[in-house]
């Protein structure tokens, strides 16, 4: 059989989430997304390619706006294509939208800014900046050329059921050691290739996403991990294991929330009242958000 990847097929993670089998084939009717070679060879195509470069090597192509070792693609898998990892093309279709995070209607470009501020622990490129234009072009191109199955709710990250037992740091530590440390390291700091390129991204500490990021919320982290991790074995952890390991990951310190008011208690009261945030909580002997090393 000839393998010609003219179109990248998307996994319909929503439907495969429940059965817990990493090997299950994609359910029928997945949306079809264009491949890199379909990027047009004109001025617009150049912008699309630039957007893809920024998305895949954010620290290199948008250095001024990045404050950690992550790239967009580390979370939004298959360069922003993969359903179940908040795919970029499905997001493009979903804005402007109201966000409870900032209590107003956000444009797509503003949503991109947010990921720079929190997930990338950096600064928001100003609206109209070529970096945002390139990312928007990339998202638009992907969406425009996709054959989208209208019945598939591929946007975002599939929800995960509430945990049967409250998540536990200790159990999470065991899950982490058995299923994650191989790649992300015993210390959670990930691993680089010999040339310095980040291959396995850091999950906590000063080079990871900050306290304001979606991934710093237990429900989002658990859902993301359940669907996507361990890499290539998404869906193999039980819901409980996903919650426990999310608790362990988010139970470590990380860069300060950029909305920090000077007081952890106050910042918690203003921005982290959710049960899904461990910010300001005592976990494993530390009050999270209080680590001087994370105030950078």
């Amino acid at each position: 059989m000839k393998y010609l990847m003219t179109l990248a097929l998307l996994m319909t993670s929503l439907t495969t989430l429940g059965d817990g089998l990493p090997d299950s084939p994609p359910e029928g009717g997945a949306s079809l997304l264009p491949a890199d070679r379909d990027i047009p060879k004109d001025e617009f195509g150049k912008m699309v390619r630039q957007g893809q470069l920024i998305f895949s090597n954010t620290g290199q192509y948008a250095r001024a706006y990045v404050g950690n070792d992550l790239s967009c693609r580390n979370c939004h898998l298959d360069q922003g294509r993969k359903a179940g990892s908040a795919p970029l093309w499905a997001a493009f279709l979903s804005y402007p939208a109201y966000r409870s995070k900032n209590h107003r209607v956000n444009t797509f470009a503003e949503r991109l800014q947010d990921c720079f501020l929190y997930s990338m622990n950096g600064k928001a490129p100003p609206l109209g900046d070529p970096i945002l234009v390139a990312l928007e072009s990339y998202a638009y191109w992907m969406e425009k050329n996709a054959k989208i199955n209208p019945r598939l709710p591929e946007r975002g990250i599939p929800q995960i059921q509430a945990p049967g037992t409250p998540p536990s740091y200790e159990r999470g530590k065991t899950v982490y050691a058995n299923h994650c440390a191989l790649c992300h390291g015993v210390d959670g700091q990930g691993r680089r290739a010999g040339d310095g390129h980040v291959v396995f991204p850091p999950l906590w500490g000063s080079r990871s996403f900050n306290w304001g990021a979606g991934m710093a919320h237990l429900n989002k982290a658990a859902a993301y991990i359940k669907t996507n991790m361990p890499l290539s074995l998404g869906g193999s952890l039980s819901d409980q294991e996903a919650w426990d390991v999310a608790y362990f990951m988010d139970g470590h310190d990380r860069p300060q929330d950029p909305r920090f008011t000077g007081s952890v208690d106050e910042t918690r009261a203003l921005f982290h009242r959710s049960r899904n945030s461990l910010y300001g909580h005592l976990v494993d002997g530390h009050v999270l958000g209080n680590d001087p090393a994370s105030h950078n």
């Binding site: 393998y3 990847m5 990248a8 097929l9 990493p22 994609p26 898998l77 290739a193 291959v199 074995l233």
Partner: protein, 224 residues
């Protein structure tokens, strides 16, 4: 597909047998000085020369024989492989008997010796597009990440558990992917490679192996 497999492995076996006397002959003659140079303890069972006949005098491997390069591979990985050969879990008649002749110390010395040689890499990109696609983009519709996602950019390897693929003989890589598929090699950490290899077709295996070997696709008859 099965027939290709046995032909491929048979060829390696024959070639390797030809090397055997040479390898062990060299061992007998040069063992003491090498042992000194390498600081290998007496009786550890490892001398570089015993391996050089097949794996090359600088651990660079032998493309035609499908014999892997060892230089620069992580020591933890090499050690695990040698133990797996010794126990017979990783099946290869030649390496099974060679590894069984090594003591545990010999295995550690061999692994450390090859691990400290600086790796060599080749420019990739020759060969057909489907190999390149799999290597750098994967096939996420079947939950197959890109090979580079774990083996690092250009397949140059990452840390102690993810060996380099760059520059390994295409024949060797093909044999390994089939070995993961059929269980004649242990599934490796988290059974990652067993799981991934089972999602690859014979065509995928050929294309991606050629890609990482760094040799050009147009060698009609060159690859079995």
């Amino acid at each position: 597909m099965n027939r290709t497999k046995y032909r491929a492995r048979g060829k390696v076996f024959l070639k390797a047998l030809l090397f055997l006397p040479l390898a062990f002959g060299a061992h007998a003659e040069t063992s003491p000085p090498h042992a000194l140079i390498l600081g290998v303890g007496e009786g550890s069972g490892f001398s570089r020369a015993a391996c050089a006949g097949c794996h090359g005098s600088e651990g660079e491997g032998n493309a035609a024989g499908g014999i892997p390069g060892l230089r620069g591979l992580p020591s933890t990985y090499l050690e695990k492989q040698l133990h797996a050969f010794a126990s017979g879990e990783r099946k290869n008649p030649i390496m099974n008997s060679i590894a069984q002749a090594l003591t545990a110390d010999g295995i550690t010395h061999a692994a450390n010796y090859y691990a400290q040689l600086p790796p060599r890499s080749r420019p990739l990109g020759a060969g057909d597009e489907s190999g390149h696609e799999l290597a750098v983009h994967g096939r996420w519709s079947e939950n197959v990440p890109s090979c580079d996602d774990c083996h690092g950019p250009d397949g140059k390897g990452v840390g102690e558990n993810f060996p380099a693929l760059n520059g390994q003989p295409a024949l060797y890589l093909e044999n390994q992917l089939r070995a993961f598929q059929n269980g004649s090699r242990p599934p490796g950490p988290l059974r990652l490679m067993e799981n991934i290899s089972r999602k690859l077709s014979a065509q995928d295996i050929r294309a991606v192996s050629l890609y990482y070997s760094g040799s050009s696709a147009v060698t009609p008859g060159g690859q079995p």
